[in-house]
Amino acid sequence: MALNDFRPMEERCSNCLGCKWIPFDKVKSQRYGENCPSISWGNFNTYSARGRFELGLALLTKDADLSPATTDIIHACTSCGSCDVACKVSRYNLEPLDHNIELKAYAIEQGKLLPGQAEIIDSLKKEKTMIRGAKKAARSAWAEGLGLKDLTKEKADVLFFPGCKSSYDEKYTKNARASVRILKKAGVDLGYLGAADLCCAGRALQMGFKDAFESSAKANIRAIEASGAKIIVTPCSDCYHAFKRQYPKLGLKVEVLHVVEYLDRLIEEGKLAFTKKVPIRVTYHDPCHLGRLGEPFVAWEGKEKKIFNQIHTWEPRRPRYNGAYGIYDAPRSVINSIPGVELVEMERIREYSWCCGAGSACNETNPEFSSGTAAERVTEANSTGAGALVTACPWCESNFRGAKDENGRTIEVLDIVELVEMAL
């Protein structure tokens, strides 16, 4: 789709401004009632999903142009989908998240990028990773000594896909290595793509680089199909969303699981037994791309229809991605099954979770916005009295590490597989 295809939506948005708040029946306090990191940081209406619909329309009608200020606003969006969830409480015929991404794509087509974005995509094209400075040749180093099958040469039921952050960043390879150790301990027949392992490119799509995403995704799908694996399991929520929601549009047909889903399954089947207590009070952060954006893709083909020349609908009914069927219970079940751990919840949880700020590579291209977003979440985490913030995504983990809340305090940050391994 192009921006012009969203014009009916841009005109239909009724300015209810629900997109700026978590759904009102879920609000527990004014302090933690907001949902959109973009408008919370930028303040002008333009930063909200409503504002972006208006801006998109103004660009199409030539009432506005891609000035530096407008370009900054367009790209100051982590593509977290929070606006999308809020909008769909009362609307059926708007897709704010898709429009936000299309607006970015529109700006990119006109050459309006943020500093750093071109280098990130260049790295994707040349080194098959969006981690700048990382080299393709070093991608498999994280797997040394783990005894993983190379799926370019052998077969296995389950393909482990670590993702770029867990492959290259030494602070987060621990998550990939811990995941593999735990899954192998539970008897899972596990393999890895080795030299054929490439970036999922989900972040490229979040940023609006649709062609770069599609090209990388097709190469990945070929490698995955050639491996013969029936299940992909990943510790990265960005990769999870890419495989589960975006890749099926391009033909991927394997089952997609996050490591936390697999762990939950193994615990229920009695294949993982905890032997140690971990006495800690934790709070769990729902990653955007595992939670509200972790719903499976539902194929749809139909057409728009007007009832009484006023009400827009579709025949047959379109799938409604409103976050309700994301992955929320599995991580909580895993945490609650670890002896000694006490789980306390933040106010904004599940599909109403506040973004970590790392999405759409904002952690690199707009660090002030990104770190402010993370600080807000750390403030909320610290307000629960938890000793640690647990999450299921290395991007979330890295954005929270070192982030200071409004009182200058940090919080210990753990990946869920780390917590699990402490108890095994």
Binding site: E11, A64, S67, Q310
Partner: protein, 71 residues
């Protein structure tokens, strides 16, 4: 009456550079609310006047200063 550079700078001093904008893209999202219509009622309304600037005051005192300046 067009917003002069001097008045804009005076407004900027009151609210801070982050809280004032004259960018067309920002102004378009502040057209008169009452005129904005969904496709249920008609096409996008181009005739509503566009503000010359958008300000986001952070306190009563700032609002008072803005009003005094505008008067």
């Amino acid at each position: 009456m067009a917003l002069s550079k001097e008045i804009f700078e005076a407004l900027e001093t009151i609210v801070g550079a982050r809280n004032i904008s004259r960018d067309k893209g920002v102004l378009e999202t502040y057209r008169c609310i009452a005129s904005q219509s969904s496709a249920h009622y008609g096409p996008y309304d181009h005739k509503t006047p566009l503000p010359q600037a958008v300000l986001l005051p952070g306190s009563t005192a700032e609002v008072q200063k803005i009003v005094r300046l505008c008067n």
